[in-house]
């Protein structure tokens, strides 16, 4: 009898009763004050549990928000450092460019490298729901290029038409020093007209990092010649800096 009553209460609270069963049970509660009180207490308890659950969810969101803010700060700092490094490189060019060719290339790269901003997650592209892509981009935004490259490589295998992912993969591979793979990825990214210019710019930076100045100058010249290119002026300036390396 007790077990049957519990079964009914459970079904009522879970909302798994049919409309007729529900009406019959509510009729029973109208005549049984003890039953009605028990159901009310259990329902209130479920409500309190849900409320505590909302608090817990809110705490989780606060942690995510902290992660987001930290990442934003890191990006701002990265941009600031890149600009500062650029100034230092220009000021100390004379010193660095005499007899320290190898490390100067790295410095020149660092001074001009700012990770291309995430246009995938921030734009909420429908294609962003692939979890490899999302995980890859989150790692990319965190500056964790090893994890980013792993996820984006996997994503590219199953989504070969997604050229945007190839750009972020190529940038990650450049950061990891995987130059041959990066070059292949940049060439794929260039097939997308929306990412061609970005791929050209980062490919030239990759050549600088890899001490391939002739290839870098070839790419930069093409960028500089295209006055519509978003990095046209920067390419001209960078070519002058490479000349100082010689």
């Amino acid at each position: 009898m007790e077990a049957d009553k519990d079964q009914k209460i459970q079904e009522y609270l879970d909302g798994s009763m049919s409309q007729d069963e529900k009406l019959a049970f509510e009729g029973l509660m109208n005549t049984d004050a003890e039953l009605a009180a028990e159901v009310t207490e259990l329902r209130e308890l479920e409500y309190d549990l849900k409320a505590a659950g909302v608090d817990s969810f809110r705490s989780k969101m606060d942690q995510w928000e902290q992660g987001y803010q930290k990442n934003q700060g890191k990006n701002r700092m990265r941009t600031f450092l890149a600009i500062a490094a650029s100034i230092v490189v220009v000021l100390l060019a004379g010193y660095y460019f005499t007899g320290q060719q190898g490390s100067s290339a790295e410095k020149l790269y660092a001074a001009n490298f700012v990770p291309y901003e995430d246009m995938i997650l921030t734009r909420g592209e429908p294609s962003a729901t692939g979890s490899q892509l999302v995980d890859g981009m989150i790692a990319y935004n965190d500056g964790d290029y090893t994890i980013a490259a792993e996820h984006l490589e996997q994503f590219r295998i199953t989504n070969p038409d997604n050229k945007a992912a190839a750009l972020y993969l190529a940038i990650s591979q450049t950061e990891l020093g995987r130059y041959d793979a990066a070059e292949r990825s940049f060439n794929i990214a260039m097939e997308d007209p929306n990412f061609r210019q970005q791929a050209q710019w980062y490919l030239s930076l990759m050549y600088i990092k890899n001490h391939k100045n002739a290839e870098a100058l070839g790419q930069l010249q093409a960028i500089a010649d295209n006055t519509d290119h978003y990095k046209s002026a920067a390419a001209t300036e960078l070519m002058q800096q490479i000349d100082l390396l010689k």
Partner: protein, 207 residues
């Protein structure tokens, strides 16, 4: 000529329908993930729209960073619990459109701002059933701290069953699999027994 135009139109229509179906499929997959309690998907969803929400709120409503973060969290929690509680069971637009539409209502509600150039969002009419005050409602629960304290005392398996269901948003099927119950019905029965046990503890503690 007419045939060619129609044919071209049909191709575009087909492409549009395919794209719309893809968005629909992805959106419903988000709903499934929330209903079935996949925490990683929920976390990814939070990050996916966080930056664009801040930029959108700043552009159209002049909302600063801190306020945008607060509003985004309220919109996200509203979106999440309305799906979890079965108030949103399907969406005709993307989850982003829904999330931003809820955010738009919350911005208006809390800051009484007049939109500068807000674009009309077509899903607003569908949001009639959405409970925007979900956080305020739950915040008014006075006994939630007591419940949390008693959950720590209740022991196993009740602690796991109730925590998984109410805190981690898992459904009975997943709880059954996780705790090795043969069926979800057995897990649901266990949850009910645990609820009664917690009620007894509440009585003892005098809450």
């Amino acid at each position: 000529m007419i045939t060619l135009q129609n044919s071209s139109f049909d191709v575009h229509l087909l492409q549009f329908e395919k794209a719309a179906a893809k968005v629909q499929q992805q959106t419903n997959s988000v709903i499934d993930s929330i209903v079935n309690g996949h925490p990683k998907v929920v976390e990814d969803l939070y990050y996916r729209y966080r930056r664009s929400f801040g930029a959108w709120a700043a552009k159209y409503y002049g909302v600063d960073d801190d306020t945008a973060a607060e509003i985004y969290q309220r919109a996200f929690i509203t979106f999440y619990y309305n799906i979890k509680d079965g108030k949103i069971t399907h969406m005709s637009s993307s989850e982003k459109t829904y999330l931003f539409a809820i955010g738009k209502n919350l911005i208006r509600e809390h800051f009484r701002l007049v939109a500068k150039q807000a674009e009309p969002l077509s899903v607003e009419a569908e949001l009639g059933s959405v409970d925007h005050g979900i956080m305020e409602k739950y915040e008014q629960s006075h006994r939630k701290d007591t419940v949390r304290r008693l959950l720590a005392q209740i022991g196993e398996p009740c602690n796991s069953v109730l925590t998984m269901f109410y805190f981690h948003g898992m459904n009975m099927k997943e709880i059954a699999a996780k705790l090795n119950y043969k069926t979800e019905q057995i897990a649901a029965k266990r949850k009910f027994i645990c609820l009664k046990q917690l009620r007894s503890l509440m009585g003892i503690s005098g809450a």
